[in-house]
C-alpha cells in the first residue's frame, strides 16, 4: 500500500498501480486518450501529464507507478498549459468535422478540447488528408481523425488475439491500419469503435444512425449467447440503434462480440409481429387470447388437460418460463412440458487473459439454457421438445402451446405438427406463427424486463429499453392472461412479483432479489 497526495487529497493506492489508475479509482479525472484499463500502457498521447513534487519535469500519469509520499498536482497552471499544448499538437491534423463525425458527443478529444483547448489554432498549413477506407463488413477507417494512440493496435494484439493492425509510415505521415489494407476479420472488430477515443474508426452498422447525446442509454443484457454480457442499449424514438458493452469484470469485462451487437437487427427487423394472427389474419390480441383460453378451457373441462403440450424456451426470461410452467402444471394440468435449449459448451466459462476468441463467445446460443433447466424442470423429469413433437405426430396431443419459439428451427422441417389446436407466441412472423391457429405477439429481450441466468449460474437483470411493437408483450404476461381467462386467480402485475415467487419456490434462487440486484448479478446454484 502506498499513500500519496493528489490535488491535496490523501489517497491510498496499491503498489504497482499507476498514478492514473489510483486517481481514477478515487474519482479524480486526469485527461487521457491512449490509456485503457484493459490495455497495456504506452504513454503515447501525453495527455495525462501531471506535476509531481521534486520531479523537475512533468510526468505521464499512466506510466508513473505510485510511490509512498508522492505529492501530485493534476490541475496546476503548468499542467493545464502542457495539456493545452498537447491538444494543439493533436489537433494539427485532426479535422474540424465534428458535425459529421459519429464520435461527436462521446469523443474524448472533443471534450478535452472544449475544456482545455483554444478556439483558434496557430497551425496555418494544410492538414493531411486521406480518403475514408473500408475495413471489412463492420468498420470504416477515417485516417484524418486518427491521433495515433494505438489503442486499436493494442486491443487487437493483446486482447482479441488477432494481430491485424499496425502503425506504418513515419512521422507526420504515420498511419494506423491493416497490412495492405486487408479487411479486419475478427468476431470482435466492433470493439475497435469503442476503443478508439476519437472517430477514426466508426461502425458501419451504426454509422450516421444517431447522435450519442440524443440517445437514451439503458443497461441491460445481451441475449446472443449464454454468457449474458452486460450491454448498454442506446435507443432513440422507440428504436434501439446500437449495443455497446457495459463493464462487468466477471462476465464480459469491457467487451462485446460483433454477433451480440448485431442481435439488435433482429429486434428492429421488418417482420416483427405487432398484432395477433389467426391463420394469417390480423386480430386483436385480447380477442385472440379470449378464443385461445376458451379452447384450452374446453380441453381441460373435458378432462383432456393432459393432452395439451407446452413448449417453453431458453430464449425467454426466467419469469416467462416460470409462469409457462405454472400454466402447464397448475392450470392446464399437463405433464407434457418441454423447452428448447441450446448446445452444450464444455469450455471453461470464467473470463481470463487469454485471447477473446478462445473463451468469450459461447457455443450455447440460448441465453438461459441453465436457468430454464433450473426453473422448468425443478427436479422433475426432463421433457424433450423433439419427444413432444413426436408424441403430437402420433396424435397423443390434441393441442400445443409454443412460447417464443419457431418449431421449424428445432425440427429443421418446414412444417409444424398438425394438432387440433396450435397456439403460438412469436416475436417475428415465423413459420410456426403463420401456421398456428392463434398466434399472439411477443416482446424481445430489449423490450421486456426480467432476469437471465447465464451458464455460470449468474442471475442478472434485463431491463426494458424500448416499447414492444404493436400490442406485443412478454410470454409471462401472455401466460398470465391465458390463466386468468381460464379462471386461475393469478395476480401478477409486475415482473418483480414473478421474480419474488421464483425466489420463494425454485431451489437455489432464494437470494435472488429483482429490485436490489447488484450490477454484477447474483450467483445461484444449479440444481
Amino acid at each position: 500500500m502506498a499513500k500519496l497526495t493528489i490535488d491535496g487529497r490523501e489517497i491510498e493506492a496499491q503498489d504497482g498501480q499507476s498514478v492514473l489508475q489510483a486517481a481514477l479509482e478515487c474519482g479524480i479525472h486526469i485527461p487521457h486518450l491512449c490509456y485503457h484499463p484493459a490495455l497495456k500502457v504506452v504513454g503515447s498521447c501525453r495527455m495525462c501529464l501531471i506535476e509531481i513534487e521534486k520531479v523537475p519535469k512533468l510526468q505521464v500519469a499512466c506510466g508513473t507507478p505510485v510511490r509512498d509520499g508522492m505529492v501530485v498536482s493534476t490541475q496546476s497552471e503548468r499542467v493545464r498549459k502542457a495539456r493545452r499544448g498537447v491538444l494543439e499538437f493533436l489537433s494539427i491534423n485532426h479535422p474540424l468535422d465534428c458535425p459529421v463525425c459519429d464520435q461527436a458527443g462521446e469523443c474524448k478529444l472533443q471534450d478535452y478540447c472544449f475544456e482545455y483547448g483554444q478556439a483558434e489554432s496557430r497551425y496555418q498549413e494544410d492538414k493531411r488528408r486521406f480518403p475514408e477506407q473500408d475495413l471489412g463488413s463492420t468498420l470504416v477507417r477515417d485516417m484524418n481523425r486518427c491521433i495515433h494512440c494505438t489503442r486499436c493496435i493494442r486491443f487487437l494484439r493483446d486482447v482479441a488475439g488477432a494481430e491485424a493492425f499496425t502503425l506504418y509510415e513515419r512521422g507526420n505521415r504515420t498511419q494506423v491500419g491493416t497490412y495492405l489494407e486487408t479487411p479486419v476479420e475478427t468476431p470482435f472488430s466492433m470493439n475497435l469503435v469503442d476503443a478508439c477515443p476519437v472517430g477514426a474508426l466508426t461502425s458501419k452498422h451504426f454509422r450516421f444512425k444517431g447522435r450519442s447525446w440524443l440517445m437514451e442509454k439503458t443497461r441491460t443484457l445481451c441475449a446472443g449467447c449464454s454468457r449474458g454480457c452486460n450491454v448498454y442499449a442506446w435507443s432513440q424514438k422507440g428504436r434501439v440503434l446500437r449495443l455497446t458493452p457495459a463493464e462487468n469484470e466477471w462476465v464480459n469485462r469491457f467487451w462485446l462480440c460483433d454477433y451480440g451487437r448485431l442481435t439488435v437487427n433482429d429486434v428492429n427487423a421488418d417482420d416483427r409481429l405487432g398484432d395477433a394472427l389467426r391463420l394469417g389474419d390480423c386480430v386483436d390480441p385480447e380477442a385472440a387470447l379470449d378464443q385461445a383460453a376458451a379452447k384450452l378451457k374446453a380441453y381441460v373441462d373435458a378432462g383432456a388437460g393432459d393432452k395439451i403440450g407446452v413448449v417453453a424456451s431458453a430464449r425467454l426470461t426466467n419469469e416467462d418460463n416460470y409462469l409457462i410452467r405454472k400454466l402447464a402444471r397448475e392450470v392446464l394440468g399437463t405433464r407434457h412440458l418441454a423447452f428448447v435449449e441450446g448446445k452444450e459448451d464444455d469450455r471453461p466459462f470464467e473470463p481470463s487473459d487469454r485471447p477473446l476468441t478462445e473463451w468469450f463467445i459461447r457455443e450455447d446460443k440460448m441465453p438461459i439454457t441453465w436457468g430454464a433447466r433450473d426453473i422448468i424442470l425443478s427436479g422433475e423429469p426432463a421433457g424433450d421438445v423433439l419427444g413432444l413433437i413426436a408424441k403430437a405426430r402420433r396424435g397423443e396431443l390434441k393441442a400445443l402451446l409454443v412460447f417464443g419459439e419457431d418449431l421449424t428451427r428445432v425440427t429443421g422441417e418446414d412444417r409444424v405438427v398438425e394438432v387440433e389446436f396450435l397456439f403460438a407466441t412469436g416475436t417475428h412472423k415465423t413459420r410456426t406463427v403463420e401456421l398456428a391457429h392463434i398466434a399472439v405477439p411477443e416482446a424481445t429481450y430489449l423490450e421486456k424486463g426480467g432476469t437471465f441466468t447465464n451458464e455460470e449460474g449468474r442471475v442478472q437483470r434485463l431491463r426494458p429499453v424500448v416499447a414492444p411493437p404493436g400490442r406485443a408483450r412478454s410470454a409471462w404476461q401472455t401466460a398470465r392472461e391465458l390463466a386468468g381467462r381460464m379462471g386461475a386467480g393469478w395476480s401478477y402485475r409486475a415482473t418483480a412479483e414473478v421474480t419474488a415467487e421464483i425466489a420463494a419456490k425454485v431451489p437455489g434462487y432464494q437470494e435472488v432479489d429483482f429490485i436490489e440486484m447488484p450490477e454484477e448479478g447474483q450467483m445461484v446454484e444449479h440444481a
Partner: protein
C-alpha cells in the same frame, strides 16, 4: 402599498358645461374622418394581401436550407438544430452521402411548423450555416400534414428571400 393620488386638472365653467367640449371632440374626429375620406392614400394601414408590410432584416419566418452549388443541401445532418430546438420540432434522419467529401447528408429533414416557435435557435446552432429563417410568414394551410416541412420544402424557393443567416 402607497396610494397614488391622481390630480386631475380643475375644470372651468366652460369645460364643465361639456356641450362645447364635446363639440370640440366631435370636430377632432370629424377631421380624421374627412382626412381618411379624401386622402385614403395617407392612412397608416396596409391593404394586407396585396400590399405587404416591409419586414425587419432580422424577421424570423419559415425555415429554409441552403444548397450547395450542385443543388444538394448544405446540411450535413449533425443534429445540432434538432438538439437545441426548444419545442423539439426538428426531426432529422441522416444517411451516407454519395460525395465522399461531404460524407453525411440528411435523408429526411422534417420541421413541424405547428410546433415551431420561430426562436431561431436552430440557425444559431447550425455549424454550416445551412439552415436559415426566411421572410416567408404566410404559413396557413388546410391540413396539419401540409405544415410538416420536409427536405424538399426546405430547399425550394431559395431565391425568394434571404433571411437571417
Amino acid at each position: 402599498m402607497g396610494v397614488k393620488q391622481i390630480h386631475r386638472p380643475p375644470q372651468n365653467a366652460w369645460e364643465r358645461l361639456y356641450v362645447f367640449e364635446i363639440a370640440r371632440g366631435l370636430g377632432i374626429t370629424l377631421k380624421h374622418a374627412l382626412l381618411s375620406w379624401f386622402k385614403p392614400g395617407h392612412m397608416p394601414t396596409y391593404e394586407y394581401p396585396e400590399v405587404k408590410r416591409p419586414l425587419a432584416e432580422r424577421f424570423r419566418g419559415r425555415h429554409r436550407i441552403r444548397k450547395r452549388e450542385d443543388g444538394s443541401p448544405l446540411c450535413v445532418a449533425c443534429y445540432c438544430c434538432q438538439t437545441v430546438c426548444p419545442p423539439q420540432c426538428i426531426d432529422i434522419t441522416a444517411e451516407e452521402s454519395d460525395d465522399p467529401a461531404v460524407m453525411k447528408r440528411p435523408r429526411e429533414f422534417k420541421i413541424n411548423l405547428l410546433r415551431c416557435i420561430f426562436c431561431g435557435m436552430c440557425v444559431e446552432a447550425c455549424p454550416r450555416d445551412a439552415i436559415y429563417m426566411s421572410h416567408d410568414y404566410e404559413l396557413a394551410d388546410r391540413t396539419r400534414e401540409q405544415l410538416q416541412l420536409g427536405l424538399d420544402d426546405l430547399l425550394e424557393n431559395q431565391d425568394n428571400d434571404e433571411g437571417e443567416g
